[in-house]
Amino acid sequence: MHIAVVLRIVPDVTEEIEIAGNGIEIDREWIGLKLNEFDDHALEEAVLLKESTGARVTAVALAGDGAERQLQTAIARGADDAVVVNHDQESAVGARAAAHLLGSVLKNLGADLVLTGVQTPEDVFGQLAPFLAADLQWPVLNAINGVSAAEGGLEVTQEYSGGYSSRFAVKLPAVLGIQAASKPPRYVSGSKLRQASTATIASVVSTVPDGFRAQVSTRLGASQSGTKADMITGSAEQIAAKLVDMLAERGLVGA
């Protein structure tokens, strides 16, 4: 089994996000970037599969801010190889363009299993795992929270709402949109990271088909849903005391 894990660097949404002057994008100049949380889980699941089956793991990322470092980290965490995909798209490549760019690369790698996160905070025009599956003409299952090797392929757990889930036997090749790895992503030591910082990262070039046009927003605005909370201020002690009083008045604490 040759697993390709696609890693994406995305804005850290726990930091402040500002809208750019054109009103349709975010301002990426000062933004905090991080590995997409679900891709982190996809990488962990790939390395767990490598440990249980001897599978080969190749980490793949589109060229862009932080991509090389992220690929080195993936090697420190157990990936065998890493590939950066150069392209001529604008900095924030949408998922559909990414699928066009990555499909042929993954095929050329000889991968028979592709793992990536089920979504990112910005894939409003569609998600990468199913787009890639469509490009590769492979089956796809999303919201996966457990993968193990099995006779003839894999067994995976797919989650639905309300605490329902199903276990599927899946023949390869396949694409999986990972929600959570079987175990929480591992920490990697500083020395391993330093070691991996000299690892070679293969570099390839890819293009989107002629005439491809990405979808774009016409407007980006602050969320205005619902009520704005009444904010309680003061020290933690004062806030706690005020809150308990307010809740008690409403009969929401105590017997």
Partner: protein, 313 residues
């Protein structure tokens, strides 16, 4: 205007979200528009009551993403739809982008509002963990992934005169259902509690869970968690609130270090009184909470515990 709605089933029955989508689609289609349903592997009789003009169905069988994808591709190839609507659920994520890619159709995801004007569909979508709203247009035909609550209409029972179109059985798919699992009926049912204390990633460390549990006890409620807390194994799955966890509607929901991602709000947005504690004053949770404070959970939790004990004592 001809709209196809994909129907999600749970225990063989169309989900509340699917019923909402049908009602919303009917409004979008307007007078003279038609609604058709893809109710694959489900009971066509149940679908009759959803009030569509046609229902595509197949031999009853559990969900199989490969088979459903192939069926949909066939339905869409043989019938010209202006809009193809999915709920933003697991099956929606499996099916909608594939259909859009293969047919070169635009896709709008995470929709919270949908408008039609002429040959164009416009949608508002939640983006960046619920911090921003993107508005975008797509020329029809187009594919939509719609969030729960976007249409907030109840479909009710409708006249049952839909034409049923039976799809042929398909050859074996490359995936096979091994087992289907339901929530454990013996586990704690957090939907029954009237007060919930929810811990999110902002709780910081596993050791703090114990103190949060004591506070939940003092509140006379149950402790629950956001998805990362469950994924880390700090609380059991039956205590997860949100899209892939339980949907709760307690009188009081106290969220500690929860950002308020749309997938979390989906599970608790209807709670009576929502109180949020989060160091980030711009966290989306404050758009849904009634009361809030931008304070560190590590400072708040012991102070709140003491204040509760004082009140009780």
């Amino acid at each position: 205007m001809k709209i196809l709605v994909y129907i999600d089933l749970q225990d063989g029955v169309p989900t509340a979200l699917s019923r909402e989508l049908v009602a919303g689609a009917r409004r979008l289609a307007g007078q003279g528009g038609s609604i058709e349903l893809a109710l694959i592997g489900g009971d066509a009789d149940a679908a009759r009551k959803l009030g569509a003009s046609r229902v595509f169905t197949s031999t009853p069988s559990p969900y199989d993403p490969v088979a459903h994808g192939a069926y949909l591709q066939g339905i869409v190839a043989d019938n010209g739809f202006d809009l193809i609507v999915f709920g933003c659920t697991t099956s929606g994520l499996d099916l909608a982008p594939v259909l859009a890619f293969l047919n070169d159709l635009p896709l709008l995801s995470y929709c919270t509002a949908v408008r039609i004007s002429g040959g164009t569909v416009e949608a508002d979508s939640q983006i960046y963990g619920g911090k921003l709203v993107s508005t975008a247009e797509a020329s029809m035909p187009a594919v939509l992934l719609v969030n729960a609550g976007a249409f907030s209409e109840d479909n009710g029972n409708q006249a049952g005169n839909a034409e049923i179109i039976q799809l042929p059985d398909r050859p074996q798919s490359s995936v096979r259902l091994v087992s289907a699992n339901r929530p454990d009926p013996n586990a704690v049912d957090i939907t029954k509690a009237s007060r919930l204390l929810c811990v999110g990633r902002g709780i910081g460390e596993q050791d703090a869970i114990e103190e949060a549990r004591e506070v939940a006890d003092l509140m006379g409620g149950e402790i629950v968690g956001s998805r990362p807390i469950i994924d880390a194994g700090w609380l059991p799955k039956e205590r997860q609130v949100g899209k892939s966890g339980r949907k709760v509607k307690p009188q009081l929901y106290l969220a500690l270090g929860v950002s308020g991602a749309p997938e979390h709000i989906e599970g608790m947005g209807g709670a009576g009184t929502i109180v949020a504690i989060n160091t980030d004053a711009s966290a989306p949770i404050f758009d849904h909470a009634h009361f809030g404070a931008a304070v560190d959970v590590a400072d708040f939790l012991p102070a709140f515990k003491e204040a509760l004990a004082r009140k009780a004592g």
